[in-house]
């Protein structure tokens, strides 16, 4: 199993942007073409945002149409704080929901617009 140190790959310890998330997402996709699973080592990161997590892992789960179990079989995550692991888990849960909507032929934006209130 290949192990990737994320801060080295992205040349940054601040993992805040969707752009960085997209870069990591594309990299993971390419790696998964050649191997069955990958370990992402987040050691030495300073900050990570939900936008980054959603752009990487949320998008990955949906594009691969994975279940939660398949996601964690394919993607091993180490080096995140407990707080950020809980953020990752929520990102996975939200991605599972969105994937479910897509499989039912529903438009995510429409569902959010109809059901999310402020």
């Amino acid at each position: 199993m290949k192990k990737i140190k994320v801060v080295d790959k992205l040349k940054s310890s601040n993992l805040l942007s969707s752009v960085k998330g997209e870069i990591l997402y594309q990299y993971i996709l390419a790696q998964l073409d050649q191997m069955n699973s990958i370990t992402l080592d987040f050691s030495d990161y300073e900050y990570i945002s939900s936008t980054f997590l959603n752009s990487t892992f949320g998008k990955l789960l949906v594009s691969k149409n994975w279940t939660k179990e398949q996601f964690f079989d394919m993607i091993k995550v180490i080096g995140l704080s407990d707080d950020d692991m809980s953020n990752l888990m929520l990102s996975v849960q939200n991605a599972l929901f969105k994937n479910d909507l897509l499989l039912k032929g529903q438009n995510i934006e429409d569902v959010y617009l109809s059901n999310l209130s402020y």
Binding site: N14, S86, M89, S114
Partner: protein, 208 residues
């Protein structure tokens, strides 16, 4: 009307001496993104700008404080929308409890929401301890006020009793425009910034 500034201006200001600031509920929502709204492309920039600014301010030593009314409002936001979004049904407390107890998928989702919720107000937005008599808060609430709702009123009341170095609120809610002149308001909302400029209430107009 408060003095209005962006987080970048607060970071570069040499003549302001704040130690921290109070966050409004909308800022917590934008920072935490409990429903992954940032994945919808038209929303991304709005979420990202708040997340980046919060981290920049924290890195510079500012403490982003939460308060009980904000925590309660955030909880209700998650509770209500977890139910309506996931189940596409009108919210009722009874049905929510039923789903939490009897719907395994919903229970798992709710668990993930609550795991994050419990952590948010410990480190990310630490709770500001208030030793306060809350009895007068109801008397002071102007329910005919078109701007500040009860949650906002509680937040303003808390901030009104802190030292000057903490008399600053971060919000993208234009209702806080009705704050008094001696308050500061951090915002990334362009409409608020435009209105503040028109009324000569921008930090850059008053202090630079």
């Amino acid at each position: 009307m408060p003095i209005v500034l962006t987080s970048e201006q607060l970071l570069s200001a040499n003549n302001l001496h704040f130690e921290g600031f109070f966050v409004d509920t909308n800022i917590v929502i934008l920072n935490q993104d409990p429903f992954a709204e940032s994945n919808i492309s038209k929303n991304t920039q709005r979420f990202e700008s708040v997340q980046t600014s919060i981290q920049s301010l924290k890195s510079d030593g500012y403490i982003p404080y939460s308060t009980i009314p904000v925590i309660l409002e955030y909880y209700k936001h998650i509770q209500y929308n977890s139910y309506t979004l996931r189940l596409s049904k009108k919210f009722s407390t009874r049905d929510f409890k039923d789903a939490k107890n009897n719907n395994p998928d919903f229970r798992e989702y709710w668990k993930a929401q609550m795991e994050q919720f419990k952590r948010v107000f410990k480190k990310t937005f630490p709770l500001f301890e208030v030793n306060k008599n809350y009895k007068n808060l109801l008397n002071g609430f102007n329910y005919l006020d078109l701007d500040l709702d009860f949650g906002d009123h509680l937040l303003v009341n808390i901030v009104s009793n802190v030292k000057q170095e903490l008399k600053i609120i971060y919000s993208n809610d234009k209702d806080f425009f009705s704050l008094p002149d001696d308050y500061f308001l951090i915002t990334s909302d362009q409409k608020i910034l435009v209105q503040a400029e028109a009324e000569n209430k921008l930090y850059t107009q008053k202090f630079l």
